[in-house]
């Protein structure tokens, strides 16, 4: 047996080149085609084993989509395929400029409520985060393609910071809106 959903890598699964810059539309299209072939709804009256296989395959396809869809997860996965250790838990050092920036942004967030138009201020910070994340993604892509994997790895850590910031901004949006409406 050649092709196997359960063992090939996520890029192979969706038949796209192994790269950070992926065509998400194409991935989505192939995702749907695969789903149509393997989804448990296609095996409602099938045997227990077919159901099991169908569920395993669908689960894996979903896992693959989830991983490739999110830039940070996709980046981590690329490094994992290169056998790079992506356990950041015990790493505490970070470049000083970046940390400074982060602190300034947190400060801005903590003062948001005092602004005349807190939602507009949140939008501003949010857009900044978006723009920076985008730059980091571009940098990651070049580093990865040039096989400068240590740099790429460091960029992922920064992207994770930005991801957290984005979540905090969303939470703030929610709680401020709750107060207003």
């Amino acid at each position: 047996m050649t092709s196997d959903i359960l063992t090939c890598n996520f890029f192979q699964l969706f038949d796209v080149p192994v790269s950070f810059d992926v065509d998400l539309d194409l991935i989505h299209q192939h995702y749907m085609e695969l789903q149509k072939a393997v989804h448990p709804d296609r095996f409602v009256n099938a045997s227990a084993q077919e159901k099991r296989i169908s569920m395993q395959q669908t689960s894996r396809i979903n896992e693959a989509l989830n991983t490739l869809k999110q830039p940070v997860d996709r980046a981590l996965y690329l490094l994992k395929l290169k056998d790079i250790d992506i356990n950041f838990e015990n790493e505490t050092t970070m470049d000083a400029d970046f940390l400074m920036e982060q602190m300034e942004m947190r400060e801005a967030l903590s003062e948001v409520r005092e602004k005349d138009d807190p939602l507009a201020e949140l939008d501003r910070v949010g857009n900044e985060v978006k723009a920076k994340t985008k730059n980091m993604m571009n940098d990651f892509s070049s580093c990865y393609e040039a096989d400068r994997l240590d740099e790429a790895r460091e960029l992922i850590r920064k992207m994770q910071f930005m991801q957290k910031a984005k979540k905090e901004i969303n939470d703030l949006f929610a709680s401020i809106e709750d107060e207003i409406y």
Partner: protein, 627 residues
Amino acid sequence: MALLQINEPGETAAPHQHKLAVGIDLGTTNSLVASVRSGEVQTLPDVNGEHLLPSIVRYVEGGVEVGTSAREKSIDDPLNTIVSVKRLMGRGVSDLKTLGNNLPYKFSESDSAVPRIITCNGNVSATEVSAEILKSLKRRAIETLGGDLEGVVITVPAYFDDAQRQATKDAARLADLKVLRLLNEPTAAAVAYGLDTGQEGVIVIYDLGGGTFDVSVLCLKRGVFEVLSTGGDSALGGDDFDHAIAEWIIEESGYKNDPQASLARLLMNESRRAKEALSDSAEINIEINRSDFKWSGVLTRSKLRELIEPLIKKTIMACRRSLRDADVTTDDILQVVMVGGSTRALDVRKMVGEFFQREPLVNIDPDRVVAVGAALQADVLAGNKPDDEMLLLDVIPLSLGIETMGGLAEKIVYRNTPIPVAKAQDFTTYKDGQTAMAVHVVQGERELVADCRSLAHFELRGFPPHVAGAARIRVTYQVDADGLLSVSAREENSGVEASVTVKPSYGLEDSEIETMLRDSMDYAEEDMKSRSLREQQVEADRVIEALDSALNADGDELLSKQERQTIDEARQELINAKTSDDSGVIKAAIKSLEKVCDDYVARRMNSNIQKAMQGHSVDEYISQDQE
């Protein structure tokens, strides 16, 4: 073993036979059953021409009444008449307090985590009450359609957690119904509007029923629905509008006592009548004349708006959050679909229209639209439309996590992840010499375990002692297409395993269900035996037929001579076993045939996938890898 299932459309040998399948909307206030008949989907009426079955069950000496007749008695016999039982589905004793202030029933003190309502006909759980509603709809369907049902699709609020979904499935089992799929109500509504064949884009389903509010943001792309996000409130609905009105009446009347059950029910009924009337007129007179309560007054449309506006605002807030979760803005939205009887309230339509900046769709009866969609999906799943490409992809509504040190919930499967899905996470021990670990499975978005819903506890025991941090315990969460969870844990160094199908603290144990089934009048024990023998014989025939057809199609291509021989032998053994009058023997033979076919089935499925991927072959990459 329906290997037939994966044949290309049109290859199926047997002539196509229409299978009876229905969709059931098991609602808080009303329930419905619908079916596709000669190409058209219809909700099925009872003998009196009523389509809606009030979701009300009354227990009387030696019997059960469901629907309108039960509703008529609800004021006189509130303790034996169970309304809005859906709110209790999958809820534990500890949840009752948060729900409890409006519940007139008496609950039994039992050690079981499942709350049981005391009635004159014994103590019943929410699952059993729901099963009575399902049985009633099932009878109606069988009488109308004239045959046994192949299966049902039952809808649940997208917001239902694992326990509530499980309880719904259990209720179906008690009613002896085969569940083809639990379908999220909003998805069903989108299907009913035929949005699956319409323009591609973002669709919002605003579903305000009697007892639940759901908002779902769906994305339709290439004929497939994807749920981008779901939100809502499983304890907010039109009942709360009635409540707000009833409280206003009590306040206006100066009544000081806690209203008794029958008075409370009467006030709720009057409130509902007033609310409904205000959809057509600007004001309505309310008059209540009882020995313990006398009051008359006028409720105007603007007063109504004042009373219910805070509740509608709560729904709008949930809409806002769901849009953000889905990462879309109101500009991206193509359609807004209104579902649920409470969307008839003019204020609701108005405020929803204002928020989304577009007229919501209201042309299908909002009470029936979910059942209609469920019936369409049941028709597809029963195999009546082999060429139909419709596939509904669902997401998990609430994150699934695990308790870690300090009472924190660590998420393992994030909400809005498409299902089915499997996710594994590694944990370790924190004490030297530790040989066991407790796994606490929780569901919810909050950081603290105490704020999440507890689904299950189990223990992984007997792995060899390690120094702290050296054991490697892999916990795997698997969620199936219905959104039901099973969890397993394995210590990787020793291979010690433990697992649990989440039958949470609030579900019924399998044995409980079996007992109930046995206790029910439908089957005496002898019946059960012969029934299960018949079932196995039919299954054996099906397996053999499916296998033969598969072997004919590609047996030579995919199997070596020896593999073929092994399969043929197992096939012959099953044919021999079929003559046995012991269902266990047949079952075992089926199992062993399936086992030797395992690889073959997998190969067939894989070759099917390759066909699906057509031009772009997965092989190219794989062979590169192996070089």
